[in-house]
């Protein structure tokens, strides 16, 4: 609870004002079969004047976006209860929903706000969950995300990932000159704000496992270097600036090592840096391109891209056996692997017949399942609960973000008012 209060306040104090055009807009492009019917009744505002945020609206949008819920249209609500005692279960059953969420919110006595809610099972006529959530002055949206996570988990019995953030790169034009911004937004695209702005390219943001730091590649000075930036203090540290390529940073699950792609010897190879001693251990050693490492959740393996066998394919490295194995054989182009949180699947960029899509690769069999529509999709990353994959997508001459459920059933587009959006990285779940 301590961090819940401290982190967003610090962030707000340290970053530049948010511009309206930086807000991601989310459109749901494909529907779902078998989503849970729920009614999210507008929460009653107990303060003076206008409510600062429509909390229930945020929750409803989250649940719809997950593809696992189909919220009932408000015009079909038989009543507008805000307390569980006022809920007429029979009428909600007739309206066709299994669950009803009701609540109230208002200013808290010690400053900030308090949100109270009740999740009700319409069929059993019982209460599933009821919480009070305090929120700081600027934290109402975040409180709504936490309510969404509680509802998601109470009904589906798996954790939600709404109270998380997305880092991404925004390439924009400023007075005709290119400008690159390292951005952080809430998982629903709101609160987008830059944490770094540069005239030279920024690439490959990677969250530390504790969610407090980002590693990324910066070309400031027209040389590549891997930087680590502390989100709370804004302090930046240059962790690798060797001759040639310094790229593709990936944190080990324990946060003590950083896998990197370096090209000191002329071609790019994978190394692992110990973050305490800064010692480097070389993992690959050949004349091919070896890059884009991703750690297995148990820290025992790296998956990476290599073109040692011709066009790029996915390989795995086993630390214990000190052994490299080719994983993918299907399709001409497989690159940029990311491990799923359960360690059983890789999300990759899959190229076939000139189309690049996001695909899931089974780690045991190496089978490839295409998930996205292409034709120029890249940079997949799993949500920390493993339910969704976010990726970059090209539409016309614009770069956008999109999400797809791991079964490929629900696809959504996150579009922006201006600029090219790319390389999304989903934060870890926040510790409570």
């Amino acid at each position: 609870m301590k961090r819940f209060l401290a982190v967003p306040l610090l962030l707000l104090a340290l970053i530049a004002p948010v511009q309206g055009s930086d807000v991601l807009r989310i459109e749901i492009t494909e529907g779902v079969v078998g989503a849970a019917p729920i009614a999210v009744v507008p929460f009653a505002w107990e303060g003076r004047g206008q409510a600062p945020e429509a909390v229930a609206g945020i929750i409803e949008a989250n649940l719809a976006r997950s593809g696992r819920f189909s919220p009932l249209d408000g015009r079909q609500f038989p009543q507008q209860p805000s307390s569980p005692n006022d809920v007429n279960f029979r009428r909600w059953r007739e309206a066709g929903v299994d669950h009803v969420l009701v609540g109230r919110y208002g200013p808290a006595s010690g400053g900030g706000y308090e949100v109270r809610f009740h999740l009700l099972d319409v069929l059993r006529e019982s209460q599933i969950a009821a919480y009070r959530i305090p929120a700081p002055e600027a934290g109402l949206r975040r409180a709504a995300h936490r309510v969404s996570d509680i509802v998601y988990e109470a009904i589906l019995d798996e954790p939600g990932a709404f109270d998380t953030r997305i880092a991404y790169i925004l390439a924009a034009q400023d007075d005709g000159r290119p400008e690159y911004r390292l951005m952080i937004a809430d998982s629903d695209g709101y609160n987008a704000r830059p944490i770094l702005v540069s005239r030279q390219p920024l690439m490959s943001p990677a969250w530390s496992p504790d969610g407090r730091r980002l590693a990324y590649v910066s070309f400031e000075g027209r040389r590549s270097q891997v930087m680590v930036q502390d989100l709370g203090s804004g302090e930046r540290e240059r962790v690798s600036s060797r001759r040639g390529i310094n790229g593709a940073p990936a944190w080990s699950p324990d946060g003590r090592r950083l896998a990197l792609a370096l090209s000191e010897g002329g071609n790019v190879d994978i190394y692992v840096m110990d973050m305490d001693s800064r010692d480097l251990r070389r993992i690959t050693r050949d004349s091919a391109i070896n890059t884009e490492p991703s750690w297995s959740p148990d820290g025992r393996q790296l998956a990476f891209t290599s073109d040692r066998g011709g066009p790029p394919q996915i390989y795995t490295y086993d630390f214990e056996k000190n052994e490299i194995r080719r994983l993918t054989f299907e399709g001409r182009y497989n690159a940029r692997p990311r491990f799923s949180p359960d360690g059983e699947t890789l999300a990759v960029v899959h190229g076939r017949d000139g189309r690049f899509t996001i695909a899931a690769v089974d780690l045991r069999g190496g089978g490839v399942r295409i998930l996205s529509g292409g034709p120029l999709d890249e940079s997949p990353d799993f949500s920390p609960n493993g339910a969704m994959i976010i990726h970059a997508s090209r539409r016309g001459d614009r770069g956008e973000l999109a999400t797809v459920s791991v079964d490929g059933q629900v696809r959504q587009r996150l579009s922006m008012a201006e600029g090219q959006v790319r390389e999304p990285a989903w934060s870890p779940l926040r510790s409570r």
Partner: protein, 182 residues
């Protein structure tokens, strides 16, 4: 105030200063040179190639240059096929002309900037851009250029020459640029 906020302010001030300088320059040019006759659609200026003229050059070296070599030296970009780092035979002549310039001027320095088109994954493309830059570097070394004169950097697909998303743009974006200076 935070470091980042200060950086942003500094950037904004820098941007303003650049904007002012540009305006001043523009005012110096009072009239655009243009053909008088409407039938004339293009005017070529001979012997005034800014890319070539910007290269500091020994007088004897300049006198010895053939006009073809002049053209090759004015050319600062070589292009590549998809997922390839092979230098085409036409571009070999460009690289050789630059090799001759660099060998004759041992104090000159060049940065070879490798680029790719947007297809495929970004960090793989960083590797591919580096491979292209290395391929040009090897040819320069084979022609006798000292390794201390050459640096390579790969921008992958991050800095396209053509922002569009089509075959023509991709062709122009798969390239290595010769950047002289410092």
């Amino acid at each position: 105030m935070s470091t980042i906020y200060r950086m942003l302010m500094a950037l904004m001030v820098a941007a303003l200063m650049v904007a002012c300088a540009t305006t001043f320059d523009d005012e110096d040019v009072t009239d655009e040179p243009r053909p008088i006759d409407e039938d004339v659609t293009r005017v070529d200026v001979i012997g005034d190639d800014p890319a070539f003229d910007a290269l500091p050059m020994d007088d004897e070296f300049r006198r010895e240059l053939t006009s073809e070599e002049r053209d090759f030296l004015a050319e600062r970009i070589v292009y590549f096929a998809f997922d390839s780092s092979t230098i085409s035979s036409e571009d070999e002549a460009v690289v050789r002309a630059h090799a001759r310039y660099l060998s004759y001027h041992p104090n000159s320095r060049v940065v070879l900037e490798g680029h790719t088109d947007e297809r495929g994954s970004r960090e793989y493309n960083i590797g591919l851009g580096e491979r292209r830059a290395q391929s040009v570097r090897r040819m320069l070394l084979a022609q006798g250029v000292s390794s201390g004169q050459i640096e390579t950097v790969s921008f992958g697909e991050e800095q396209p020459a053509d922002m569009r998303s089509n075959e023509e743009a991709w062709r122009l974006n798969r390239r290595v640029e010769f950047v002289y200076g410092e």
